[in-house]
């Protein structure tokens, strides 16, 4: 029995689903950000598994670009979070409902 590429992709799928469930259920903006990071990481695992399966280094390059985008996203997201917290003293996304109709 060997570890085929489907094993890695299935693991990545389950991790992605857990991350999606975290984004949908949690109300703490920080934990929601972490869940988004988990989803990005699971996609990276899929990219790298596919790169191994196809023998193409482009999959690893794509994963590197995903890491760059994730780093930029975390920087901006946490800055927004800190700005919101300084104004509202809360990290709860349900309280940010001023634009509600």
């Amino acid at each position: 029995m060997t570890v085929t590429i489907g094993w890695y992709m299935s693991l990545a799928a389950v991790l992605f689903a857990i991350g999606a469930a975290g984004v949908l259920t949690r109300r703490n903006a920080l934990v929601m950000f972490m869940s988004v990071e988990l989803m990005l990481n699971s996609v990276n695992l899929t990219f790298i598994a596919a790169a191994k399966e196809l023998g193409l280094v482009e999959g690893q390059v794509a994963a590197l670009f995903v890491m760059v985008v994730a780093a930029a996203e975390v920087t901006i997201g946490l800055a927004i979070l800190v700005a919101v917290f300084r104004r509202r003293a809360s990290a709860n996304v349900d309280e940010l409902s001023e634009l509600k109709g």
């Binding site: 990545a12 992605f16 259920t25 920080l30 790298i48 994963a63 920087t75």
Partner: protein, 179 residues
Amino acid sequence: MTEVVLFVIFAAVALTGAVVMVTAKNPVYSAMGLLTTMFTMALFYILLDAHFLAVVQILVYAGAVMTLFLFVIMMIGVDKKEDTAETIPFQRGLTVVVGAGLAAVVIMAGRQAWVTGSTAFGAPDLNGTIETVSDALFGTWTVAFLSTVFLLTIAAVGTVALAMFGTPQLRDTKSEEAP
């Protein structure tokens, strides 16, 4: 056989870390769960011959990103209880259904050859050292690589702008209270 044992053990660790991250009440525990998952991801990258990306994973994610997360958690404060009341009815149940459905669909898709692109002939050996990755990065994908420079610059400028001009109200209330 060794690979199977390693995969099963570390897949269990990764899934445990992910579940802990989603379910933990305290954001610090969430961060620790995510950190565990990040480290096991790096091990999977090594198993998949992506040595350079495994190192980048540990340096960037486990090092920089998680430190940033923990810094913000400590700054914002972790002692506040999270309000878990549902504002949208049936949201929890829907989330379980949607998450399980998503996992099922992606697992099914991952078994199809037209999704994974795998052929019966196998693939050429891939050695994801820094040399092969940078060959592709600075050869074929130079323009994409250079555009990430713009992306990171914009992100840095945006963060500084948010920090400098993000809280006008706070400054007003402070100046009113001060005298």
